[in-house]
Subunit: 449 residues, 2 copies
Amino acid sequence: MKTILILGAGLSSSSLIRYLLEHSAEHDWQLRIVDQDIDLVKQKIDGHVNGVALSFNALDHDERKPEIEKADLVISMLPARFHVEVALDCINLKTNLITPSYISEDMRNLDQAAKDAGIVIMNEIGVDPGIDHMSAMKIIHEIQEKGGKLTSFKSFTGGLIAPESDNNPWNYKFTWNPRNVILAGQGGASCFIRNGEYKYIPYHRLFNRLDYMSIEGYGEFVGYANRDSLSYRTTYGIEEIPTIFRGTLRRPGYCEAWNVFIELGMTDDTYEMVQPKITPRKFLNSFLPYNTDKTIEVKFREFLGKEREHLYDRFEWLGLFDGDNLIGLDDASPAQYLQAILEKKLTLDQDDKDMIVMMHEFEYKWQNQQHKITSHMVNIGEDQTYTSMSNTVGLPAAICAKMILTGTLNSVGVTLPIYKEIYQPILRELEEYHIRFIEKEFSPSISGQ
Amino acid sequence: MKTILILGAGLSSSSLIRYLLEHSAEHDWQLRIVDQDIDLVKQKIDGHVNGVALSFNALDHDERKPEIEKADLVISMLPARFHVEVALDCINLKTNLITPSYISEDMRNLDQAAKDAGIVIMNEIGVDPGIDHMSAMKIIHEIQEKGGKLTSFKSFTGGLIAPESDNNPWNYKFTWNPRNVILAGQGGASCFIRNGEYKYIPYHRLFNRLDYMSIEGYGEFVGYANRDSLSYRTTYGIEEIPTIFRGTLRRPGYCEAWNVFIELGMTDDTYEMVQPKITPRKFLNSFLPYNTDKTIEVKFREFLGKEREHLYDRFEWLGLFDGDNLIGLDDASPAQYLQAILEKKLTLDQDDKDMIVMMHEFEYKWQNQQHKITSHMVNIGEDQTYTSMSNTVGLPAAICAKMILTGTLNSVGVTLPIYKEIYQPILRELEEYHIRFIEKEFSPSISGQ
């Protein structure tokens, strides 16, 4: 019998736990699952005989150590900043480790120690990062294997609302941590490279520099630039590529409207607003010029200008002009007030489903001709436990766990799912779960930027 | 004989040193002046018999201690962050201290210790802060003394180029530290209060929300908001005032054009640009959308838009489209590149003079009527040693030094020049040096915001 220790039983662990429990009888696994909230763990295990619910502080070295000692594999779903500590324990106790999070510099530095311990520490094996790496590397390797030379790589991912639940003028609901949505793109300029020209977009213009694309059966999307596109050149071994761009997908109109919040200063999280007990209307007026001759509605219309007039209704629908009801926060940052306003309107209804969309575009030279491949994936969540986010984050990690425990994945060290022996079986099995990429040659679909 | 120790003999110390040397015979003072650069000190002393040039590291406690011990008064012209250390020495050695810099929280906390030592630590006694406090408090006190109630206070200061040296399309030259000009307004939203409404302006819109004013004989000016207006309510004892605004003055057109740099992302100092050996043209293009069908000139014109078309020539004049000459920096931040580009064009010519402009506007209720007072000061520098900046920073500190040493200023503790017994004699003597406020009642001159 093999033992799997899962640290954290939150939303993103649901599909991971379900997969591993479903395969536990076949492979003789015991799942030991820890969370501060034991009820949450029990709910996820749902009485399965191979699941053991534990409750202790997984951030405490002394508490988690005896459990890691018992395990053949640890899957850390803790916040990313705790992974290195867990990795050190795993190295000491010679236990394999999987995390879905971005590899940190400190984690990378453990590579030799992990190799010496004979263990694998697999990182970035969720959806983004994770499925993006795997689906992109599959095509990059195919192009390279036939002797093609990659000249452009663009890649977009979005966590959105499923079409059947899409019933508001923003075509958006919070399907994940709202705070991350409010702060998206902050912390520096977004940098990419286009035909050899380096491009930098400051935060306050980020949601106005867009790529447009459509996906058959799913309609139109727009993409705004992620902060870091350049580091993928090294990760994917395509250092010389003249065009690389990574972005986030939204529905048309969302980004232009979001940029209005940014331009007004409403997404700023660096200071507390002074005035107490404010309504959305007062909040809005704090960012508009003083003018007693004009209503707030008129000042806001002037701020939008002619070109963005059509966006006005979105803001009205959000209740931004409401002067009767308090937001219900005090001494908060603009970003916190904005989040509270949006959460009243953009939260999922009980039967709503989420959707993950991923879209890659590759251009390459082969036999003296320019070729183009697009590859996209659309996945809809099952319900609000087994969301698309949970499935796409959890299943790659779960399949990877199976590969490690059954001996079909034998690499050691700190690694990523960018190698064929890792991504091929995972991508294949993901198709059984409706996480499937559709590849097309020559499809002309991304323009702009 | 009394001994004055001056720490730092840089640009801002010139007028301070000249005044004190000129008055040294009359009052029997010896000036001991320290700088790392002894030649600079000698140059400033210019052979005067009461000046002693010293060269040691004034930041080193052990090196400066024996000099502070000898002194009756220390004037610290060191960077602001070193003042508290010097203040601690002064408290221990019971020596009075003057600094022109903003009072820090740590400095404020030394108040009781300074009182116990029986010394005065006078802060914020330069131009801004300094002359602004004194000239504003004079009128605030006058209004209060006759029973008026202050309802609005707006105050603007600018370090500019004198009209006779104003010969470029920006109507601006660097008369002070260029880096501070490039980074002006960064680090958070600007906050003020207008008729009871709190207003926040994010950095990327700061130079587009302007107040317009004119000064007889000197033409038109515009003011953009300083980051902090609100704290002056406490400093000036006007906590309940419904309108308070502090701003920085520029010539018309400067701010609108400067906002273009901000919107493009060129003033960002938080990251290094990746590409090596870039020209101004390449620098500009890094912030413009990729489009091989359009020249950089066309893309920039489109970025400006119709409304700002008239600003185009300013950017051309700066050499922003120059694709032949390297900027001459590598691995620099956008702000550093921009500074290097601007320094080629906006630097003072040998005979150029600078100008300090200050403008206050007060509104108050008295005998059931609204009244308005404006007070402004324009001062032109003598040359590039005795600049207006040096005169307006150094003379208030110098006059204050005289008051302390001659016993006409007897307060103790950590203080500011906001009390009548301090500002009255200083403002009076400043007039002899052409630093003179012109007050007007009812002049309607500030609108907008």
